[in-house]
């Protein structure tokens, strides 16, 4: 300690004393840190306090907490996660790539699965051929009126029904998860052509804009075809 230096005013000393814990944890900004370090050069009591706080930090840091596996914890949370309506489509902002640099979630689709096999091309072809027939069939079997309480009937340009074809490699649970995510309910089980007919009339997706849902689905890996079931 430099005994020739005058003691700083008491309030300055006390102010610095209250900020020492954050000098210890290294979170002070440069200017503030320099100010405190200058004071420490001439203040023995603050240096002692700093030493005690460092020892406290060291002892606190020695404690260990047994943290459960984060992946398993997330799996438990997933069961409670309600899918939210997709209000905006993904846009390829530069920031998206930063997330891709992180470990990809295990249940996310992989780009490497995007290769379209021959079988999938055949499925698309079948979908295109069968779609007009299904449309006519739906027109014949659907009632020719809608009540005011039938929210689907108010959707502009569509009844809210979509026709979907998925990559054969996409597992049924993944398809089911995707449909739940957009609030779609299967109303036509897939036949040999693998064509799903779904309705956006239940669940969280009921509030979503059908066109936004379609755009979202088209961007999902494993979704081969999305089209509206038109009415006559």
């Amino acid at each position: 300690m430099n005994t020739l230096q005058p003691h700083p005013p008491k309030h300055v000393h006390e102010d610095i004393l209250t900020r020492l814990p954050w000098l210890v944890n290294g979170s002070l900004e440069a200017e503030e840190r320099v100010h405190l370090e200058a004071h420490l050069e001439d203040c023995e009591s603050c240096r002692q306090e700093l030493s005690v706080l460092r020892a406290l930090a060291e002892n606190l840091g020695r404690r260990s907490v047994s943290v459960p596996d984060s992946h398993a914890a997330f799996d438990r949370l997933k069961a409670r996660m309600n899918p939210r309506p997709v209000m905006a489509t993904r846009n390829a902002s530069p920031g998206m790539d930063r997330t891709r640099s992180k470990p990809r979630p295990r249940w996310a689709f992989r780009r490497s699965q995007r290769h379209i096999p021959l079988a999938m091309a055949a499925t698309v072809l079948m979908a295109v051929l069968i779609a007009p027939l299904l449309t006519q069939w739906n027109a014949l079997t659907e009632p020719g009126f809608h009540t005011l309480s039938d929210r689907v009937s108010l959707l502009p340009g569509a009844r809210g029904d979509l026709r979907l074809v998925f990559d054969p490699k996409l597992a049924p649970p993944a398809i089911d998860r995707l449909l739940r995510e957009v609030g779609a309910e299967v109303i036509g089980a897939p036949g040999e052509g693998g064509i799903y007919t779904v309705r956006l009339s239940r669940g969280a997706g009921a509030q979503a804009d059908p066109s936004a849902v379609m755009a979202y689905l088209r961007q999902q890996e494993g979704v081969v075809l999305v089209e509206v079931v038109t009415t006559q």
């Binding site: 004393l17 979170s27 406290l56 606190l60 997330f74 996660m81 997709v86 979630p105």
Partner: protein, 211 residues
């Protein structure tokens, strides 16, 4: 809006210039608002260990810590609009976790200290002789931390375990920066009987105290 989502803003509370959210935070919250579950999972995996450690140290209950971490992050998934960009995303989330932990403690969730701690020095007096051992010191630290209020303990943990700036801690606790410093000051005073054990010259210090 859910009170747990409320973020103390600059102004009346005396909070200023806390670190704002960065590009990564903006990216994450934008994707979560879109309903992107993969982005949410990435955020979850990054924050889970820290949140768990913080809540456990506040509540001393593993089961409760696990529940509260998931409740906290579920709230982020369901109501991302609660984040207003005036702090780091992790700061906002720690604030939610802190309030949930406080609520749980108020309901009697935290395991109470084995000894009533009106005066920590009385508890430690008989144990000073063996306090050179690290295990014993850790046990004493646990006892010492139990003597603090929940708010004081939060300041200690967020400062020394999480390494957060007092500005960020003020946001998490929803109080002015000066209140954070005051809580730290009083916590440090309460911990004095324990801190004496950490002094390199503690034998000499005790002798001076006795005389």
């Amino acid at each position: 809006m859910d009170s747990e989502l409320t973020l103390i803003m600059d102004g009346d509370a005396g909070i200023s210039a806390n670190a704002l959210c960065d590009d990564q935070d903006q990216h994450w919250i934008a994707r979560i608002r879109e309903g992107n579950a993969a982005a949410f999972e990435a955020l979850y995996l990054e924050l889970h260990p820290r949140l768990y450690g913080f809540i456990y140290r506040m509540t001393r209950d593993h089961g409760l810590a696990e529940d509260l971490v998931n409740e906290t992050l579920l709230l982020v998934w369901e109501k991302p609009e609660g984040f207003n960009g005036q702090s780091k995303l992790s700061t906002w989330i720690f604030g939610i976790a802190y309030r949930k932990a406080l609520k749980a403690i108020a309901k009697g969730a935290r395991a109470s200290a084995a000894v009533p701690l009106d005066d920590l020095s009385e508890v430690l007096t008989d144990r000073k002789v063996s306090a050179t051992r690290e295990v014993e010191l850790e046990n004493l630290l646990s006892v010492a931390l139990d003597s603090l209020s929940d708010e004081q303990r939060a300041v200690i943990e967020l400062t020394f375990t999480e390494g957060l700036a007092y500005r960020d801690i003020a946001v998490i606790l929803g109080c002015p920066e000066n209140t954070v410093k005051t809580r730290m000051f009083h916590a440090r005073r309460k911990l004095e009987p324990y801190l004496v054990l950490l002094r390199p010259d503690r034998d000499e210090y005790r002798h001076e105290e006795m005389t």
